[in-house]
């Protein structure tokens, strides 16, 4: 047997075993998610909302909306945030040196005037230019600052925040009326033991949106968008719910999450140099919780929904995926010390390795699987068998799980009430394996390669982690 054949066989077995392991871990998470959802499926969540809407039991929240060139979406976002059913909020729109008319439209729409707002500069940021306050909604502020990236904008927001909890919303996202109340639920219920919580992000494309309210849930006609919807469902069902159950969360979406201000300041605020500042923050917090033995929790909450705009074109989608993967790898790398480190408990032993092996490395191996299948078909002979086995696994991994996710979602939460929408999503997932999946894999690997270059050019990455944990105590 030639060395090529040996290599082929060895690779085949490795890929096969890896895929099987991934499928197994996804299955476990799927089952866990299923059990949680079945338990809570028929719960009338309005009852809990009604309990917490009373100002006595809830905690006031400062909402931060970092906006960079968001002149089209920001008004709807602010409207949706003004309409939140929550006793006490303060809303800060942070214009991160936009080049378009973001600040102008906000000032005009909400009748804003220059104002003074006291600030507690615990985090170093780029200079703030001016502060405005609305004459219609006294809790609405606009802060204009020099461009410094999303992390920097959020840090400015934290400095200006009046309340001890803050909520981050992307400048193009929309919240449901009860979303903030529901995402705050674990924090309120746990007497502050939960220091951060993230909500469920959904794609708004195709829905009717008017003044920041989703008036009807329709399914977008574009296959690209529908595929992304399915992808979001999968991520949330086969990951977040299960991880949250055991305090293993490393990602809560920056598009919609709440944090307790103190630990964030203690952790040094958002990192302004990394790409995925939202993930980096969560990892940093988890690390701090363990290092300083603070015993807090970070949770993912499935029912508060945040609607966000998904990329409509391939090039934007590609950029987004590349960025995500870069962010993932950089956060993991910055905190690589945690990997398989028993000091960090389950997070170090399960969560971080899971993200390394499955989320980060997964695309490489899956892509290798695709390449292998094609090669094997060309080489013929006994490799047919490998190829068939791998194809089956890919189908199982892609299509079957996706369909399951769509079904489970529509059974438990029922975002799309029309059954034909559900069918369309399921039909589309049948084709996923041959176009959408490989495309995103390529983009993610691209991101991986890019960040390897970025990291090596960065030099001393340790620095990021070090300042990160020491935090405000300088």
């Amino acid at each position: 047997m030639t060395s090529i054949h040996i290599a082929m066989q060895v690779f085949g077995v490795i890929i096969f075993l890896y895929m099987a392991a991934v499928i197994l871990s996804y299955s476990i998470m799927f089952v866990l998610a299923f059990r949680t959802l079945r338990r809570e499926r028929s719960l009338d969540r309005r009852e809990l909302d009604a309990r917490f809407v009373d100002a006595f039991y809830s905690k006031p929240v400062t909402i931060l909306v970092p906006a960079y060139n968001e002149e089209t979406g920001v008004i709807a976002t602010v409207h949706s945030l003004l309409n939140l059913d929550y006793p006490q909020t303060e809303l800060l729109v942070i214009d991160d040196g936009s080049k378009d008319g973001t600040a102008a439209v906000v000032i005009e729409q909400f009748d804003m005037v220059r104002a003074r707002k006291s600030v507690d500069p615990q985090l170093a940021t780029k200079p703030v230019k001016e502060v405005y306050r609305s004459r219609i909604h006294p809790n609405l502020w606009l802060i204009r600052k020099e461009n410094g990236g999303k992390g920097d904008a959020l840090n400015v927001g934290i400095n200006f925040a009046r309340y001890s909890y803050f909520c981050t919303i992307d400048g193009d996202s929309i919240l449901d009326e009860s979303s903030l109340l529901r995402v705050m639920k674990p924090i309120i219920m746990s007497d502050g033991k939960v220091i951060a919580a993230g909500g469920n992000v959904r794609i708004v494309n195709g829905m009717d949106v008017e003044y920041g309210a989703v008036s009807s849930t329709k399914l977008s006609g574009k296959p690209f968008v529908v595929m992304q919807i399915v992808e979001y469902l999968r991520a949330f069902l086969m990951g977040r719910i299960a991880l949250s159950k055991y305090n293993l969360v490393l990602i809560i979406s920056g598009a919609f999450s709440v944090f307790s201000k103190k630990p964030v300041i203690r952790a040094g605020g958002y990192n302004t140099t990394t790409i995925g500042e939202d993930m980096e923050m969560v990892v940093k917090l988890q690390r701090m919780l363990k290092e300083d033995k603070l015993g807090g929790r970070i949770e993912f909450v499935p029912d508060p929904v945040c609607w966000t705009e998904a990329p409509q074109t391939i090039s934007v989608l590609r950029k987004q995926r590349r960025r995500w993967h870069q962010g993932l790898l950089e956060s993991l790398w910055a905190h690589r010390k945690m990997t398989f480190n028993p000091k960090y408990g389950a997070v170090g032993m399960i969560s971080v390795p899971y993200f390394w092996l499955i989320e980060c490395l997964g695309p490489v191996i899956e892509l290798a699987g695709y390449v292998y299948v094609i090669t094997a078909f060309f080489m013929g002979g006994i490799y047919y068998e490998y190829a068939v086995a791998l194809v089956l696994l890919l189908v199982l991994y892609g299509t079957v799980f996706s369909m399951g996710a769509v079904l489970l979602e529509s059974w438990s939460l029922g975002t799309f009430p029309k059954i034909h929408n559900v069918f369309r999503m399921m039909l589309l997932t049948l084709t996923e394996v041959v176009w959408y999946r490989p495309l995103t894999l390529i983009w993610r690997v691209e991101g991986l390669v890019r960040s390897i270059f970025r990291i090596s050019s960065w030099g001393d990455m340790e620095r990021v982690g070090a300042t990160g944990t020491k935090g405000a105590g300088k």
Partner: protein, 284 residues
């Protein structure tokens, strides 16, 4: 209230013109005007003239003094005054002129609020109703009814809340409020946007708005500001409903122009009483 030294006394065609003008104001501002007709019982025009002199000194600027074709008669138009105010005025008048110039006088008081009541009719009704001569000094007055009902006032009511069942409940409660002279047109809205996009708020009708502070699309504060920015915003009476027991928010809402606040859950009878009070306050 400034007191002029000498009021003009008007008569004839000019009086008719002023009467029509003031009657139109009555309808627009929903403020009753009173017509008072005084007659020297014995037909002594000299005494009537002396009282007229006295009156020119004590009338308010907006009050109108007029003469009729009978020299023993003095007429008064008192805008923004119901019959209670008119009676009070006559009593004051009697007090300041206890002597010769006052009496014996017959007086008739008529409230003017109907668009079809002409000045001639009004005077005729007054004359007909005046009491028999009594011979005693002083002013003897009677109340006179024009026989016309108050014109029915169309009032619009908008109810804004996110909960359909609650909207319907409030609608039923409001529709069952029965007040003479007021006709209610009730409409409900699920969000603030529908209201501001409709032409429902454009008409001149007095308008009662009952709304939640939390509404989809455009919330209560937004709607409040928009209504209060409209050119004829005085026509709105605004009641806010809230679930949030936050004094800060309430203060701000009052400062922004809300007329009342209801903290959910609230008493339906209290709500009805507030609405009734607001409707009753429309005519004064």
């Amino acid at each position: 209230m400034s007191i002029r030294k000498n009021s003009e006394v008007i008569e004839g065609a000019f009086f008719r013109y002023v009467f029509n003008l003031l009657r139109a104001n009555v309808l627009r501002d929903r403020r009753t005007m009173s017509l008072v007709l005084l007659r020297e019982e014995r037909g002594d025009s000299r005494i009537a003239r002396m009282l007229k002199e006295k009156l020119t000194e004590m009338l308010r600027e907006k009050d109108v003094l007029f003469e009729t074709e009978h020299p023993d008669e003095i007429g008064l138009l008192l805008p923004n005054s119901g019959k209670e105010e008119a009676v009070g005025f006559l009593q004051r008048l009697q007090k300041v002129c206890p002597g010769m110039e006052c009496g014996p006088f017959q007086a008739a008081i008529l409230e003017v609020y109907h668009p079809e009541l002409t000045s001639e009719n009004a005077l005729a009704i007054c004359r007909k109703a005046m009491a028999e001569p009594q011979g005693q000094d002083g002013i003897h007055f009677v109340h006179v009814e024009s026989g016309l009902d108050r014109p029915v006032l169309e009032v619009k009511v908008s109810i804004l809340d996110g909960d359909r069942l609650f909207r319907e409940l409030l609608q039923m409660a409001v529709e069952r409020i029965d007040l003479a002279g007021v006709r209610l047109q009730v409409r409900t809205f699920a969000d603030g946007l529908v209201l501001s996009q409709s032409d429902w708020t454009d008409s001149w009708h007095p308008h009662l708005v009952v709304m939640s502070d939390v509404l989809p699309k455009r919330n209560g504060l937004d709607v409040l500001h928009e209504l209060r920015k409209m050119p004829n915003q005085e026509k709105f009476t605004i009641l806010m409903m809230t679930r949030h027991n936050s004094e800060e928010d309430m203060i701000y809402a009052y400062e922004s122009g809300t007329d009342g606040y209801l903290l959910k859950p609230f008493n339906l009878r209290l709500f009805e009483a507030q609405v009734k009070r607001m409707l009753a306050g429309l005519w004064s």
